[in-house]
């Protein structure tokens, strides 16, 4: 039974250049106690999915269609009041770039206490008491809650953000690029911490990253996005060992392999298409080395290729012409 289930999520942004179809019919399932990774290039809609789940879209963004099922509710349609009750207490988020997500002129402890005070109606003193415990949980001495963000290093700030996300004992934590701005050693520390917390606190996690190695290390299942569409989803083993979609294959090729032969990582030619006016058919076709006429004419459906392994590619449908065109 899925704890969180996103069905056909479609999120658009109204901009001067037109309507940006940032997320277009994405399905995601997160089972209890599981880690789900959402991967894809910058600008493919990963963060928009996260913000849509929590309904934290900027003013010009709107959920056009789809459902976000959680504990019997549809988070896409419940009132803002209910949503406020869900945020932080049930689903919380670790924001992209901890460097900027802390208010530079407020003490770190106070900032962690804020969601506790706002969501659980505790007074300042009671909230601050819990802050000490939270800081220790993420490996920071409790007295450092008295300090300001500039007195912390990048990794420490990320720990603070994690402590803040855990402040109201959520069931699901969405981590949006939690290690992107950090060096590799600190990255490993933070990922270890996330994994430990997930185990100890019985969390389910959605990890958003463009770094596949991070995913391989921490996630159970993965969803690969391209230009606002879900192109492939399955277990980590499915994705890395039996990648079906050409985009997933290219993405994996683009990472250096330390065990295999010495070679330069491949890259995917071309750029992410405009989401105001996306390509017809399969959105990946202009960059796909296997593209044929049907990929331009018709959008491929997300179909199962194996138990729990889904992919949306015309190559999987049998009537492919023999000459490859």
């Amino acid at each position: 039974m899925a704890l969180l289930e996103v069905r056909g999520l479609t999120t658009y942004f109204d901009t001067m250049a037109g309507v940006v179809k940032a997320v277009d019919g994405v399905d995601i399932r997160l089972a209890e106690g599981e880690s789900l990774g959402i991967a894809g290039e910058s600008g493919c809609g990963k963060t928009t999915v996260a913000l849509s789940i929590l309904r934290l879209l900027p003013r010009n963004g709107r959920i056009v269609a789809g459902a976000v099922r959680y504990a019997g509710w549809d988070l896409a349609t419940i009132s803002e009041d209910y949503m406020r009750g869900i945020r932080w207490k049930h689903i919380s988020i670790i924001f992209q770039g901890a460097m900027n997500a802390l208010n530079p002129v407020k003490r770190v402890g106070e900032q962690i206490a804020e969601p506790i005070m706002l969501h659980e109606g505790l007074d300042r003193e009671a909230a601050m008491k819990r802050v000490g415990g939270l800081l220790e949980l993420v490996g920071i001495h409790r007295d450092r809650g008295q300090e300001f963000p500039h007195e912390f290093s990048g990794g420490m700030r990320q720990r603070v953000m994690i402590a803040m996300a855990l402040a109201c004992n959520p069931k699901i934590v969405i981590a949006d690029e939690p290690v992107t701005a950090l060096d590799v050693v600190i990255q490993a520390q933070i990922l270890d911490l996330l994994e430990r917390l997930k185990r100890e606190l019985d969390l389910s996690m959605v990890l958003i990253s463009h770094d596949l190695s991070v995913m391989a290390e921490t996630c159970d299942t993965m969803a690969i996005m391209y230009a606002g569409k879900l192109v492939e989803s399955g277990t980590v083993r499915d994705i890395f060992k039996r990648a079906n979609h050409p985009y997933t294959q290219d993405l994996i090729q683009a990472f250096p392999d330390i065990e295999g032969s010495q070679r330069l990582p491949a890259y995917i030619p071309g750029l992410l298409p405009s989401l105001v006016d996306p390509p017809t058919g399969c959105r990946f076709h202009p960059r796909c080395k296997f593209a044929w006429q049907r990929c331009i004419d018709k959008e491929p459906a997300l179909l199962p290729v194996d138990e729990g392994h889904w992919s949306s590619c015309h190559l999987n449908t049998p009537e492919r012409p023999a000459d490859g065109r």
Partner: protein, 280 residues
Amino acid sequence: MFARSRLGMVGLLMLLVFVVMALTAPGLTSAGILQNPNRQNLSDRFEGPSSDYWFGTDQLGRDLFSRLWWGAQASLLIGFAATAIIMVLGSLIGLVSGYYGGWIDEILMRVTDFFLVVPFLLLVLILAATVPPPGTSISKVVLVIGISLWAFTARLVRSQVLSLKERQFVERARSAGAGDFRIMIRHIFPNAFTLVFAEAILTVAVVILLESFLSFIGIAPADMITWGKTLQEAYVWSATETGLLVWVLMPGLYIVALVLGFTLLGFALDELVNPRLRRR
């Protein structure tokens, strides 16, 4: 860092002198060290400086040295009170305007524009004539100056808020359940506060200059001694032509010194908190 700004320290010292004057005026007068500034002595009218009257006397034989000493009270009181109004009003309108944007911003900024483009003097005169009750009290002077000067601060705060509200910690605070009011007051304003504070010090200087000017043209609190009033009396009684230069010179110097003090301090603070002016 502040101590390194020598001009700022000079400004601070000048201010301290005037603050001491304002605070000690009643005490020194009752102790008899300072003459009663309101005691008229018609046999000693229009006297030049002497050991009895250091700065001479005015048309009613009142001691000018003592009157100027007392005048620090009015200048500082009006300076701080009007600045407080300007900062509160300007910050509030700037915050709301910048934070909400859209038509709220449009309306508030058009009102702000009105206060910016109407000639200053005209605005003050109209306000002084229309704000009830008739007659001029100190609270009325404070109010009139406050209403006519808030627009600059509103613009400054708005521009800060426009950039601050896009910062990620605001998004984080909102997701943590903070409402608009809380975000504005607890998250955005503290980030803009240092700049507002520096602006406030510079505004005090402007207010004091304006207060003296208003006093000079007759809009002065009836129950207080002000430097502007003394200047005006010197002008009416042709002090320059009768050789009583001190009568004109001293109130002018006091005003300039106090304004300069605030300006030096304000510039020093501004340099500290305003990233565009900060020296590397």
